[in-house]
């Protein structure tokens, strides 16, 4: 700003531009957040401060399972997706004919609404669904039966517990892998290729080049991609419900919806708010950790 400050009328000042956002968030974001906090720590009958709801949350029948499933899902899925996406991005990292069409095709699963994903896999994984049809038509069914892996037409949705979670991870990977790959690809293409060339000249093989040079330099990109995915991962629920139905394979957000939609009354309400706050805390915690890591990674990388 110039040293001779001319008084600007308010409606011309830049604060005016910030005002709508500030207003919006103070009303529509702060309100629900503080309501949630208040609800969690207030007793059911309108009493004073209490930790009862927190205890109720921790002792909820499926709380442990929900937490375990959610964390396993989030962590395993991003690990799997990261490794695969990185591998694919490295392989694809060159301009080839049809690359833009290919990338578009790869991006389609990302644009699909979750409920449609649910329809797809719901219809696909039944005994006479299209997955088994595909195996049948291509002859893979016969091969797998001969190998003893399959015994007739398999009902894919007949899994439970951790296996169910793994199953969902695979479906999630199908949906999401292309988008992670594209983000990493973008990072790779912004990378000055002379960094890798220098490594090759000075003694590194391809693997060492990727490990010592490429990955550290594109770390900020990777961190951003992973952050957004893990936050999504922690909120998984719909795909589980569409394939396995409520209450079978619990997840944190699944609990939120479950208690909101299938129960009435104060107790259930308190539970769902408690679960909600819990999820918010987890997500914000993860975001904080990742942003700290990002700041560290950006140091020194120009």
């Amino acid at each position: 700003m110039n040293s001779t400050k001319t008084k600007k009328p308010f409606f011309k000042s830049p604060y005016l531009l910030v005002l709508p956002a500030l207003l919006f968030y103070s009303i529509f974001w702060a309100y629900p957040v503080f309501t949630a906090i208040r609800e969690v720590f207030t007793a059911i009958d309108g009493g004073g401060f209490t930790l009862d709801n927190v205890f109720a949350l921790f002792h909820d029948k499926k709380f442990e399972a929900a937490v375990t499933n959610t964390l396993v899902f989030a962590l395993v899925s991003i690990s799997l997706q990261f490794v695969l996406a990185l591998a694919l991005a490295l392989i694809i990292n060159r301009n080839f004919k049809g690359s833009s069409i290919f990338l578009f095709v790869m991006m389609i699963p990302m644009a699909i609404p979750i409920s449609a994903v649910g329809v797809i896999w719901n219809t696909g994984l039944t005994q006479y669904g299209w997955l088994n049809s595909f195996l049948d038509i291509t002859g893979l069914q016969a091969i797998l039966e001969w190998l003893g892996i399959l015994d007739g037409l398999h009902l894919w949705t007949d899994v439970s517990g951790m296996n169910a979670v793994m199953f969902l991870i695979l479906i999630d990977t199908w949906t999401v892998l292309p988008s992670v790959m594209i983000i990493i690809l973008a990072g790779l293409q912004n990378l000055n290729k002379e960094y890798s060339e220098a490594a090759l000249v000075f003694g590194a093989n391809r693997f060492q080049t990727v490990k010592d040079i490429v990955i550290p330099i594109i770390k900020p990109t990777i961190i951003t991609a992973l952050l957004l995915r893990i936050i999504s991962g922690v909120q998984v629920w719909l795909i589980s419900v569409m394939i396995f139905d409520f209450d079978k394979v619990p997840f944190l957000v699944e609990r939120i919806v479950y208690y909101t939609k299938f129960y009435y009354g104060e107790e259930a309400y308190k539970l769902s708010v408690s679960y909600s706050l819990f999820v918010v805390l987890i997500v914000m915690g993860i975001a904080y950790l990742f942003l700290r890591a990002n700041r560290k990674a950006e140091r020194g990388v120009v």
Binding site: N192, E194, L200, G203, R299
Partner: protein, 286 residues
């Protein structure tokens, strides 16, 4: 006996673009060779073929009599300074210089010794703990040099290493590079488009244009005895003057004349004879 031989080298992209059409060169041990030429002439491409960063379409490259075109860059015994320096931004200066040595599984002690040595040579001792982003362009360039000499290579490749520096630094770094080359008794190939660099640094210059070699010679030869029109045009600052004249014989004298002037060729008989024989009554360029 040549140390490095480039035999009929050819590089074609996409089956249509001939970046390097025909490149033949023999380099002797300890020589400082400069590839000189305008942008797009193929000098960098040739160097990258020697480094192994580009594949060879046709021809061969031999070091010490052995073909290297099927070797990985890291197995060729070379070292390279890139135009953008390519100093790894996520590593400290120390780690940058030490990386190649670490890959060769040298002991920590040995690595430290070498790094400290080259740091002194390149005057970067005080930067060893810093990150490249904290250094100026010139300092980063010296890190690139230090990294390159730490591995004591058979062959030094330098791809326009001075182009991104300011004028004053360019001139002073020039001397440093030549000195390092001499101190290490290495063989070097230096790519540039700047003829003053070439003329001051090179033992021999390879002048390229459009994928072919126009002339190979010492700076003196290139400057005073250009073989071709292109060379004569390219070398010399300010550029040479060219006149179109006609050769004529008049009373025992050989004259070169055009509308503006007439010049009697007083030099040796040989030149006169050549002129008379080949170019009598023709137009030549002086």
């Amino acid at each position: 006996m040549s140390y490095i031989k480039l035999d009929n080298l050819k590089k074609v992209y996409n089956k249509t673009i001939e970046a390097v059409k025909k490149f033949d060169l023999e380099i002797y041990k300890g020589e400082f060779i400069v590839f000189l030429g305008p942008s797009g002439c193929g000098k960098s491409t040739t160097m990258r073929m020697i480094a192994g960063l580009e594949s060879v379409t046709e021809g061969d490259i031999l070091i010490d009599g052995k073909s290297i075109i099927n070797l990985q860059p890291k197995d060729r015994g070379i070292s390279m300074i890139f135009q953008s320096y390519a100093v790894w931004p996520h590593m400290t200066v120390y780690d940058n210089v030490a990386y190649a040595l670490k890959l060769r599984k040298k002991s920590k002690k040995e690595i430290d010794k070498v790094v400290q040595e080259v740091a002194v040579v390149c005057d970067i001792v005080q930067y060893l703990d810093r990150y490249p982003s904290q250094l100026s362009g010139g300092q980063r360039q010296r890190v690139a040099v230090a990294r390159a000499i730490a591995v004591k290579p058979k062959l030094f490749l330098m791809d326009e290493p001075l182009s991104n520096l300011d004028a004053k630094l360019r001139v002073s770094m020039r001397t440093d590079l030549k000195r390092i080359h001499q101190d290490l008794n290495s063989t070097s190939i230096f790519v540039t488009h700047d003829q003053s660099e070439a003329l001051s640094l090179a033992d021999r210059i390879v002048l390229m244009n459009n994928g072919v070699i126009e002339q190979i010679g010492t700076p003196n030869e290139i400057y005073h005895e250009p073989d071709k029109m292109f060379v004569a045009q390219f070398i010399g600052s300010p550029p040479s003057n060219f006149f179109t004249v006609k050769v004529a014989k008049k009373d025992d004298k050989v004259l070169l004349s055009n509308d503006d002037f007439s010049f009697e060729v007083k030099q040796k008989q040989k030149i006169q004879k050549v002129l008379l024989k080949d170019d009598l009554n023709k137009e030549i360029i002086l």
